[in-house]
């Protein structure tokens, strides 16, 4: 197979675009798509400071690299969950990338260690308060990313969610008719109230396979191993179903998610916006003052429960 843009050998076929690219043309294609996403969704401007949430996996390290290559002012935050084996291996990948690729560009890595802050790793914490590990993990990561972004005056927080992630989440939300979650599926969520950072997903136009291919071509050394808690996750079932549909009918995933975004944009003039809803329902947490719908936020309630469980 030849590259459709130049005479070189292709390294990846992209059936959803009915094309194929060599390494250089794939790199250019991915960076152009990310730049287009940033502009189209008004994610951030060249002067804005961006904080990327990194895990050591392909999506977040690739996002960090692309934003650096596009010349944005970007730093990264890694949350060390304290999962035996996996966390130290993922942290090693992140630190290595920071040292070799990011720091020479003036980009900094911040590490937040759950165990130092909460006295236990994520698995023990979840056990103590009798919640599934992934749900406790989600609460902690959301909380810490927002806290670091807010306290250090970043303009926006970026995550590596891709087209497969968003299409799978949309499928899950539609299957259960979780309409309140549909509101939050935009790739660009405004800083609706004081204390909440703006959140964006610059990779929402790229499939997981395209991102992984970009990482391989550009020698981004990421952790292929998955978090051991992810086994059997519902998301994997949705992703598999969508990939089977994609194989039959290339472009299914993008038509599904982008089509949803188009409809959401059209209806946003009539329905109250997420910012409006947030402004009427959120208030500062009584303990930490991060915005919450309850009196005390879910993170502070979780920490309080963990402390009483220890006694």
């Amino acid at each position: 197979m030849r590259c459709r843009k130049c005479p070189k050998r292709a390294v990846l076929g992209l059936s959803r675009h009915n094309t194929a690219f060599c390494g250089d043309c794939l790199t250019e294609f991915v960076r152009t798509q990310v730049q287009r996403a940033i502009k189209a969704q008004q994610m951030f401007a060249p002067e804005d400071r961006v904080l990327v949430a990194v895990s050591g996996g392909k999506d977040s390290l690739t996002l960090w690299e692309i934003l650096l290559k596009l010349g944005y002012r970007v730093d990264a935050l890694y949350v060390d969950l304290g999962i035996p084996g996996y966390s130290s291996r993922s942290k090693e990948k992140v630190e290595q990338f920071a040292k070799v690729v990011a720091e020479p560009c003036g980009s900094q890595l911040t590490i937040h260690t759950v165990e130092e802050d909460a006295g236990a790793g994520i698995k023990e914490l979840a056990n103590l308060i009798k919640r599934p590990t992934c749900s406790a993990c989600g609460t902690i990561k959301r909380y810490q990313f927002n806290r670091v972004a807010w306290q250090n005056h970043y303009d926006v927080m970026a995550t590596g969610h891709n087209l497969d992630d968003e299409a799978a989440r949309l499928l899950g939300n539609v299957l259960q008719w979780q309409e309140e979650y549909l509101q939050k599926q935009s790739p660009s969520l405004p800083a609706s109230v004081e204390g909440f950072a703006k959140k964006v997903k610059p990779l929402y136009r790229m499939t997981e396979r395209e991102i992984a291919a970009y990482a391989v071509v550009n020698r981004i050394d990421y952790l292929v191993e998955e978090c051991p808690m992810a086994k059997g996750a519902k998301m994997l079932v949705y992703k598999d179903a969508l990939n089977r549909l994609e194989a039959e009918s290339p472009g299914t995933k993008q038509r599904f998610y982008w089509g949803f975004l188009d409809r959401q944009e059209k209806s946003s003039s009539v329905a109250p916006s997420m910012s409006q809803i947030d402004q009427t329902t959120l208030q500062p947490c009584s303990v930490c003052s991060q915005p919450t719908t309850a009196g005390t936020c879910s993170f502070c309630r979780m920490m309080a429960r963990a402390k009483t469980a220890v006694k």
């Binding site: 390294v11 999506d59 391989v216 998955e226 978090c227 996750a233 990939n243 994609e246």
Partner: protein, 64 residues
């Protein structure tokens, strides 16, 4: 040829030469969920893997 897979990590021996597309079929894998890597290079589905080659079939789907 030697074939390395992840999640869980395992190694297989498959008779070559064989086209990448046929390796996917033989192992009952969806191409959209994997990359094929020989050395440091990606291979497209129409390319052929020689019997003496070592390849990695790398999953690209993450669950988080």
């Amino acid at each position: 040829m030697k074939v390395h897979l992840s999640h869980p990590t395992r190694d297989l021996i498959i008779q070559g030469p064989k086209r990448v597309a046929d390796i996917f079929k033989e192992l009952n894998l969806i191409p959209e969920a994997f990359l094929i890597i020989r050395g440091q290079d990606l291979m497209t589905e129409d390319e052929t893997v020689a019997d003496g080659d070592s390849i990695e079939i790398r999953p690209v789907i993450s669950g988080g």
